[in-house]
């Protein structure tokens, strides 16, 4: 057991899944000798061979459909999209096929597949490399959307995603790839795909977030704690299906909620959470549900990206307003 980064945890989970199950394949651009542009697949080619670690042509429209075919044949393909900015040609296949195949064939054909992609901003990447568009997938029936925020959760959630019999979109916050280290036991333990993680207890306020924003959210919670305010921090982790039970329970206690995500505000996954609070949680709410999110603008290039991305200051400001609301 050693301290590893999130990207190392991804690699560890991939290797674990591949060694446990011969049907697990890794496909994508530059996943072979290069080991992936973020090195998430480094060493897998050497260890598992070119039959299981497959460098594909530059064909994103193909990838998800290829995985559907492999999945229907009983393989468990894990396809890497190099950046989320290049994942959109896959939506057609995910929506029209991967998420439906089991249902439309009444369980005859299934798609045990994982689509992995680094996503999000904060690393001064080139144009189209920093967006967060998880909401596009979270609206699609029949699939799961999972976002880890720490090395340990990345390991457990990715194992779960690969073992899951249905399609999973697994989005990795690249800003966190190397930002933190954590002890991760390579014990093959999967994390649940139907539950949020309560990272911090607190009865004054509920902060809900995922991905790279967890760090900012925890920082805000720390700052609040200094002034005696105890904020619960929930890492949603699985955005679809959404574990509202955990969120509702926390908000029942706190009465106040701030949701934080990097993606553009309008129609982000925060909207769904807030909408559920406006329905099932309304009677608990003591203050308006605030969302701290990216603006509804094009994600700016690096010179302005820090102004776009929510940070602990903005979270704190929203939290304070929420707490002061009476």
């Amino acid at each position: 057991m050693s301290e590893i980064t999130l990207v190392e945890a991804v690699r560890l989970a991939l290797a674990r899944a591949m060694s446990e199950d011969d049907g697990v394949l890794v496909l994508g651009e530059d996943v072979g000798p290069d080991g992936g542009v973020f090195r998430a697949t480094e060493g897998l080619l050497e260890r598992f061979g070119a039959e299981r670690v497959i460098d594909t042509p530059l064909s994103e429209s193909l990838f998800a459909g290829l995985a559907v075919g492999l999945g229907a044949q009983g393989f468990r393909p894990v396809v890497e999209f190099q950046f989320m900015g290049f994942i959109y040609p896959a939506i057609d296949q995910v929506l029209n096929h991967a998420g439906r195949l089991r249902n439309r064939t009444r369980g005859r054909l299934t798609c045990p597949m994982v689509i992995r992609a680094p996503y999000g901003g904060g690393i001064h990447a080139p144009e189209h490399h920093s967006e967060s568009t998880e909401a596009l997938f979270a609206h699609i029936p029949g699939i799961r959307v999972v976002i880890p925020s720490s090395p340990a959760r990345a390991y457990g959630l990715l194992l779960a995603a690969i073992r899951d019999p249905d399609p999973v979109i697994f989005l990795e916050p690249k800003r966190v790839y190397r930002a933190v280290k954590e002890t991760v036991a390579d014990d093959g333990q999967a994390a649940p795909l139907d539950a949020c993680f309560l990272l911090r207890e607190g009865h004054d306020l509920t902060l809900v977030s995922w991905g790279a924003m967890i760090k900012e959210t925890l920082a805000a919670a720390d700052a609040l704690a200094e002034s005696g305010i105890e904020a619960a921090v929930i890492d949603v982790a699985t955005l679809k299906p959404l574990d509202m039970t955990t969120i509702l329970r926390s908000v029942e206690a706190s009465g106040r909620c701030v949701i934080v995500h990097e993606a553009a505000l309008a129609g982000g996954v925060g909207a769904e959470i807030a909408a559920r609070l406006a329905d099932e949680g309304l009677t608990s709410l003591l203050a308006p549900v605030r969302r701290v999110a990216g603006y509804d603008t094009v994600m700016p290039l690096p010179r302005l990206e820090a102004h776009y991305l929510p940070d602990s200051e903005r979270i704190l400001a929203a939290a304070r307003e929420t707490l002061e609301f009476a």
Partner: protein, 361 residues
């Protein structure tokens, strides 16, 4: 300037439109029984299509895509494939699907709006009908890769239309198949039209077979109204695939004698004269003429066959019409392997509202 590469596209035909053999027939076609089987398959498909159109016209079936005039493509594909090959059809290959064990009742259920129609009891690995044009091509590449990785001597067959050849994902699948030398046969069911768009407006390529040139594997043309040619070319392509020699693209030249679907009115965009001219080349009469000429088929055979087909089609239609819809909550079945807790409340709500409300499908 120096020449660095060159390519050619060849065309295969054994029976001309008048049902006359041009050159020697392939060996399987020396046996009249084999030809009769192909003939039966085509006639059955035509009977099914007619029945399905009639059901639609009388409000008992949804939109339906007839394969009238294109029966030879499906029959040839169906006959050439081995049982353990995998078919990834478009939506006009019912003839091939029947041959593979998909039942008529299943396909009627499908077009009648019931998901159970894609739960084929027969060919469990075959893909269901694919409506978003060409999107089954990536699946075919995935299936073929699976067969290849397992080292099996099986092949996948992906049938697409002429219109589908303009789709980027079809091209990507072909290109990938070339790179990996996949055991995959692409059949382009070129019926001259993509709804109202004629073949010439679909691509400036002289043939659709040459789409394979871009992907680095052989492409060939075949007379798609000559079931012997279709079957023979498929046989070769499947043998290549099984032998690890990679993919083949086969462009089958045929013609859509029907409307695009029952929702279409082809008189809006094409001349009747074109259609009547093409009736002279249709595959069923062509093979029948040949069979009759070689003395392998007669009036009684024909009458018997038509009666058989009629019986079979009627029985399938009856079974379809007698199948009650699934309960509404079935839409939550098979959504995931296990329904997420989150969705239980929705299923519950649906069950309640569909018991209470006055909602009939």
């Amino acid at each position: 300037m120096s020449k660095v590469a060159s390519f050619e596209i060849n065309y295969t035909r054994f029976l001309d439109p008048q049902g006359q053999a041009v050159g020697d027939l392939p060996s399987f076609a020396q046996d009249p029984a084999a030809l009769i089987e192909l003939y039966r398959a085509m006639v059955l498909t035509r009977a099914f299509d007619a029945k399905a159109v009639a059901l639609q016209r009388t409000g008992r079936l949804g939109t339906f895509a007839s394969s009238l005039g294109q029966e030879a493509v499906a029959a040839g594909v169906g006959a050439a494939m081995a049982a353990d090959d995998v078919l990834l059809p478009s939506f006009r290959e019912q003839g091939a699907q029947f041959r593979r064990g998909v039942t008529m009742t299943e396909l009627l259920l499908y077009w009648g709006g019931d998901e159970r129609g894609s739960d084929f009891a027969g060919p469990r690995q075959d893909f269901p009908i694919c409506v978003p044009v060409g999107t089954q091509a990536p699946h075919a590449a995935g299936v073929a890769l699976a067969l290849q990785l397992r080292g099996e001597a099986r092949a996948a067959v992906c049938v697409i239309g002429d219109g589908a050849t303009s789709r980027g994902d079809v091209y990507e699948a072909m290109n990938f198949a070339g790179v990996r030398r996949l055991p995959l046969v692409f059949v382009v069911n070129n019926n001259g039209w993509a709804i109202s768009v004629p073949r010439a407006q679909q691509s400036a390529a002289e043939t659709l077979a040459q789409k394979a040139v871009a992907a680095g594997f052989p492409g060939r043309q075949v007379d798609g109204n000559d079931v012997i040619a279709v079957r023979a070319v498929l046989d070769e392509a499947l043998a290549r695939a099984r032998a690890g020699e990679g993919p083949t693209l086969i462009e089958a030249l045929t013609y859509r004698l029907s409307d695009h679907t029952t929702a279409d009115d082809a008189t809006r965009y094409r001349d009747d004269t074109e259609v009547s001219a093409r009736w002279k080349e249709e595959p069923v009469a062509r093979l029948r003429t040949y069979l009759v000429e070689i003395g392998a088929w007669g009036k009684d055979d024909e009458e018997g066959l038509l009666a058989d087909c009629d019986r079979e089609v009627e029985a399938a239609a009856d079974a379809y019409l007698a199948t009650a819809p699934m309960p509404p909550s079935a839409m939550f079945d098979h959504l995931y392997a296990e329904l997420p807790r989150e969705l239980e409340a929705q299923r519950e709500a649906l069950s309640q509202s569909s018991d209470e409300g006055d909602i009939s499908g």
